[in-house]
Symmetry: C2
Subunit: 352 residues, 2 copies
DNA sequence: ACAGTAGATGAACACGTGTGCAGTTATAGT
DNA sequence: ACTATAACTGCACACGTGTTCATCTACTGT
């Protein structure tokens, strides 16, 4: 087979290996195999893969070349039994049909990889997510990162008992056992609302996200606050599911039922759907007759066919904070919990 | 603290762990802990979590309740040392800026979760990906699933030596050590091209993907074949990077430099960019003056503002095959390798 | 009454690794 | 030449789990 010499090939074939007297099923190459092949002790093999360990330089390079030839690689799981970090991090990604969540997860995964942390991603709908997380806790995780969605108390408690640090994003958790990083949602939408009022808008509508999500609620709060400052009230309120299709449907009905000249959406996907149905379905002039503003600043928002005015929910900054929190929590598990707030920025484009 | 009494806390030390006196450091709850708390042997605890193991029913329920109280959960890694499956699957996701890859990964993750397999996702650019995969091979993976991108020979060989099954998607691998499932790319583009010819198109352009990707090459082959059947030749050929932005840039130049009335793109993201620049940048009438056809049928293709004619690269079918291959490979590791081909379908919409 | 069997139980081993410990060798310092 | 120290090495243990094995109990069938 190329990487085994002939006499070894007798004992070492692809189907089964004979070690001592016992015949084993073909499994991973182990440190013992390398030790036998290199004619050294197993300890030496382990030390060869441990930086700064006492080991003769020549012996080390001999071991490493033998390991390379056999395709040996220390089993990270067996190592984790020795108190080493597993470097596994579970990531509960919110619904991926929310385009921001998709961008978020992609970037988080890339940054974790660059930091030598390996994300076990849990996706799917929120209902499935809850059930899927529990079995993942069977692995010795360095941490659990939760994006957006809400989880039951049982998961929290199990994490605490298993000593798995929790990091939340997109949702402020009042709990004392979790770090979290979130956007100042109300500040953002208040700012956007004031700007629209200054432009002469008076009849406001809002399309929120799934029931009970604090991100959506907070964004609504900001709008109401800015409106009341100007002596105005919200004209129309509707609820959707943070998706493009949901935005289309809900906005179509809302724009038909109410006379409004400014529509704020709880996220960009919803706003894109609303923009689509306003322009192509209802033939409204945006932004002449109607302003539409989103939240997040996903990639599509800047595409010329949309050119969506929105509030940037800074992705890189948020993820950088998550990695910082993760790092600090691992180096000092007793550190008090942190709540980090990120400021959104109004991105003025062509829809409002 | 919770489940430790005070006097135990005196001896509690961050470095050491005394088993005899039930003093433990800040780590996972273990089967021994549960055994002591429940007053049974550790074997009994292990059996309580093993279906169909001999264990008194009353004892079992007692163990389970104390386990629940302590938050115990068998360590999957330690279990995998006993020959149990780790249920970990590495997923090398192609570049996430390719929207199809993002959809693909999201769906694959969800389906794997539903099947009780936990994906370690490796993302980022292709250059990073290669380096990131190697350390992930330190975990005892059930399989490695590779989407789209190409990997070096070293990764293949290491997987073979470590006995990790390989499953490719989106790229046909001639190797004998990997299963793969791919789309009949050439058939798809040939079909689309014939239809465009029938509609009177004569001057064809093609924007491909990254250099050397077989998916892009195959799609070009199909076009050339259908053209030559009709005695035609390709008018313009350009290369991009499978992204929306890349599609915009390359199509802008290509449409300015050449007179063409039909533009086929190697994927939908590219086609959306091309459509955008054609309509909003160059003010071309699509489909009156110019037909544009994509490949994949991502979610955005069906949005009314695009209404993109494209070739559906069936996501669910592809992923279903991947899971089938995975399942079969795990139950019968000696099974000969399979190459599965999926038929694309022409989705006739408004752009060509 | 007795053998036979099924159920239940804990001790002990195996899995693959990192590392403390004790022992050996080489090198430097006086 | 002698000592102190550093470099090196292998044995043995620990990590948390599943499972075999021998042992023990309880029950069934004749």
């Amino acid at each position: 087979m190329g990487f085994f010499t002939c006499d070894e090939g007798v004992k070492l074939n692809l189907r089964e290996r004979t070690i001592g007297t016992t015949v084993k099923r073909n499994k991973r190459v182990t440190a013992t195999d390398v030790a036998e092949a290199a004619g050294v002790s197993r300890s030496a093999v382990s030390r060869a893969f441990t930086p700064n360990a006492y080991l003769d330089a020549e012996k080390r390079s001999h071991i490493m070349s033998t390991a390379l030839r056999l395709g040996y690689r220390p089993n990270a799981l067996a190592a984790s039994l020795q108190g080493k970090r597993s470097n596994l991090v579970a990531v509960a990604a919110g619904g991926m049909n929310n385009l921001y969540n998709a961008e978020f997860t992609a970037m988080l995964v890339a940054r974790l990889n660059a930091a030598g942390k390996w994300p076990i991603v849990i996706g799917g709908s929120e209902a499935v997510l809850e059930e899927a997380i529990l079995p993942v806790l069977s692995y010795p995780l360095d941490a659990l990162i939760v994006r957006g969605s809400s989880l039951s108390k049982q998961v929290f408690e199990d994490c605490a008992k298993l000593n798995i640090p929790l990091i939340f994003s997109g949702r402020i958790i009042e709990a004392t056992f979790a770090d979290c990083v979130s956007c100042r949602n109300a500040d953002g939408t208040a700012q956007a609302t004031r700007q629209l009022i200054a432009k002469g808008r008076r009849h406001f509508g809002f399309i929120g996200g799934p029931e009970g999500l604090s991100s959506s609620n907070d964004r609504l709060t900001g709008i109401r606050q800015a409106l009341s400052e100007a002596g105005l009230e919200l004209t129309a309120l509707a609820q959707s599911d943070y998706t493009y299709e949901g935005g289309r449907d809900v906005a179509g009905k809302l724009l038909s039922d109410h006379h409004i000249d400014a529509l704020l959406c709880a996220n960009d996907a919803t706003a894109l759907g609303a923009l689509s149905v306003a322009r192509y379905g209802l033939h409204r002039q945006v932004p002449q007759d109607l302003s539409i503003v989103g939240f997040d600043d996903i990639a599509q928002a800047s595409w010329p066919e949309y050119d969506l005015t929105t509030l940037r929910n800074p992705l890189d900054q948020t993820i950088e904070e998550i990695l910082r929190l993760l790092q600090e929590r691992l180096t000092d598990p007793g550190k008090p919990n942190e709540q980090v707030y990120i400021d959104p920025q109004l991105v003025q484009r062509g829809t409002g």
